[in-house]
């Protein structure tokens, strides 16, 4: 599944050249090809080289996800402090940068309590079911032309379907805790997740319709060519807003954090959890936030694209686009751009959390079903009409 076959590459290049009028698209750094070539040069069979390659990107992305969470927790603490005119953590490392490590270690050493009347098996399985789909979804996040774990054909659809497993884990945790607040929190989480998945999927569908592919790499490639002007946010402003609101609701971030509303439900489905099991929920929610931000960057903000077309800049320097040094520099720029865009969105999410009050459950469901869903449908219809009317701008 991880291999990007030659046929797929050919079709991919064909679609990109069809979608962009700017001509040459940078082929990008292909670490897998270089790595397997190196190992085969040492006398290993292609199968063994591939087997040795497989765990590397997975481990790398897992580490990246966890480090992303640590950064996120630090940002949350610092930005919330700035919003409330406090200083925030400052003693653990420079600017309190080690505070998330301290938080994590504290959770690691805490006693792992399973309540006496709780259902032990489901209680343990719940947090796992919440975390695993979120981490699996990182499979399709691209940081460059070949810099992703797997360019699966179903791409973004895989993320939508995996994110629908999460409510089962929440329901499981809520039920197994044997606590009415937990159960209510789990039910609210499931209701919220089901409601907001539909406008989310419709917003994604409009983007997919423009790029003629579900693959995340194709979606980004369709946004290259004219730098910042060719990003999807100009063609899908409504879709961008819908997607961002729904992503926040799916992450249970503050305007929509009803499942764990402190004033109403103690802590929702997390009430009975402590120690590492609570840490899994915590980790899951933050990984999900970073993942959603990355996917907004991929779908609407040009993914790894630089605001000026990289090909154009490379052309100015007179270097060939596939020179090794140029490839390394463009790939690094791509990774930095993706992460930068994602963390800009994370910053907005954190700022929203500390400035906006929580909605009520009926307002939440009204917003989802009576406002976002019709708007998303109209957006889809308009996109289809524009695609037929102006195929050059909205993907042929």
């Amino acid at each position: 599944m991880v291999t990007v076959t030659a046929g797929l590459q050919a079709s991919l290049l064909a679609t990109t050249t069809a979608a962009t009028t700017a001509g040459v698209v940078a082929p990008g750094l292909d670490l897998e090809a270089s790595f397997t070539d190196l190992l085969q040069g040492l006398g290993l069979s292609p199968g063994a080289a591939h087997l040795l390659w497989l765990p590397l990107p997975m481990l790398l992305v897992l580490v990246a996800a966890v480090v992303g969470v640590l950064v996120n927790v630090w940002l949350e603490r610092k930005i919330s402090a700035a919003v409330q005119q406090r200083i925030g953590p400052e003693y653990a490392g420079a600017l309190g940068i080690l505070q998330p490590m301290a938080d994590g270690l504290k959770l690691l050493w805490k006693e792992d309590v399973i309540p006496a009347r709780a259902d032990g098996l489901l209680f343990t399985l719940g947090p796992v079911l919440v975390l695993v789909p979120v981490i699996l979804s990182w499979l399709v996040v691209p940081f460059g032309q070949h810099l992703l774990i797997s360019n699966v054909g179903v791409g973004i659809f895989l993320w939508i379907s995996l994110s629908s497993i999460q409510p089962i884990g929440l329901l499981m945790a809520g039920y197994a805790s044997n606590n009415k607040y937990s159960l209510l929190g789990g039910l609210r989480a499931a209701a919220q997740s089901i409601s907001y998945e539909i406008p989310l999927a419709l917003a994604v569908l409009a983007v997919v319709m423009m790029s003629n592919s579900l693959s995340t790499v194709d979606i980004v490639n369709q946004q290259t060519g004219a730098g910042i002007l060719s990003w999807n946010i100009w063609r899908q402003p409504v879709g961008f807003v819908i997607f961002w609101i729904c992503a926040l609701a799916e992450c249970e971030r503050l305007p929509f954090d009803l499942p764990e509303a402190e004033e109403e439900l103690v802590a929702g489905y997390q009430t009975e959890y402590s120690g590492m099991k609570f840490a899994l929920f915590y980790l899951g929610s933050y990984i999900n936030l970073v993942l959603s931000a990355l996917l907004v960057a991929v779908l609407y903000l040009g993914g790894w694209g630089f605001p000026l077309p990289v090909e154009w800049i490379v052309g100015l320097t007179g270097q060939p686009i596939d020179a090794p040094l140029v490839q390394v520099i463009t790939a690094t720029t791509g990774i930095v751009m993706t992460v930068l865009k994602a963390y800009l969105l994370v910053f907005f999410a954190i700022l929203l959390r500390w400035t906006v009050p929580r909605v009520r459950i009926d307002q939440l469901l009204d917003l989802g079903w009576k406002f976002l869903l019709p708007i998303a449908l109209v957006n889809l219809l308009v996109t289809a009409g524009l695609k037929l009317a102006f195929p050059a701008f909205f993907g042929g």
Binding site: F157, L158, S161, S164, L183
Partner: protein, 214 residues
């Protein structure tokens, strides 16, 4: 046997075992919540089998529709009405179990016979891989258009039914029985939060609290 094919074989064995054991658990476990969660596991394992058959779009759709929608709704329904009560014993339970077991064994034997007597073409046609999405779309809007539209009409009917059930207040009489419909849920006034006279009204306020807190 190469690494890829042996991995595939091991995955197939594991997924098939998960489907079979999970399905037995769904039917045989007495706790309905466990059954519902196991059903989710069975759906996921079936999605894994689709993935092994190179049908990644069908696998993703299976997870989205069956796990994400159907199973979550089942769990939702169970948990909204989850009340611990001991059901009255059904008379002749043993006989019923034997009978349903016999019917299931008969069906299983029939399926086994069909499976072994059908001349399966092995290996099957070449899997389409990622182009399957395009092919499914083409079929849905050409030769499978009528079933596709009928399915959407079915969903519309289900939706109208749900609205009729949920909005009983529109009708003054119950559609099924012809009796006056109970509109208590909608028109019942709320118990005031702050009571002015601290007499017998307080006792009325405390009673429901005691009930919910055994």
């Amino acid at each position: 046997m190469t690494i890829a094919s042996s991995t595939q074989f091991i995955c197939f064995i594991a997924l098939s075992a998960a489907v079979a054991i999970g399905a037995l658990g769904v039917v045989l476990l007495p706790n309905i919540v466990y059954s519902a969660f196991l059903l989710g596991g069975v759906f996921l394992s079936v999605a894994g089998l689709y993935l092994l058959l190179n049908a990644s779009f069908v696998a993703a759709a299976q997870v989205l529709v069956y796990v994400g929608a159907v199973n979550v709704l089942i769990l939702f329904a169970i948990m909204l009405v989850n009340k611990k009560e001991n059901l009255a014993a059904i008379p002749g339970l043993a006989l019923r179990r034997v009978l349903s077991g016999a019917v299931c064994a008969g069906l299983f034997a029939l399926l086994l016979r069909v499976a072994f007597s059908t001349p399966w073409a092995t290996p099957g046609p070449e899997p389409l891989g990622d182009e399957a999405t395009i092919r499914i779309g083409e079929h849905l809007f050409s030769d499978y258009l009528l079933p596709f539209e009928l399915a959407s009409v079915l969903l519309l009917m289900a939706m109208i039914g749900a609205i009729v059930l949920a909005r009983r207040d529109v009708f003054t009489t119950d559609i099924a029985t012809g009796e006056p419909a109970d509109q208590g849920l909608i028109e019942k006034s709320r118990t005031p939060l702050l009571l002015e006279n601290s007499g017998p009204a307080n006792a009325g306020l405390e009673a429901p609290l005691l009930e919910t807190n055994p």
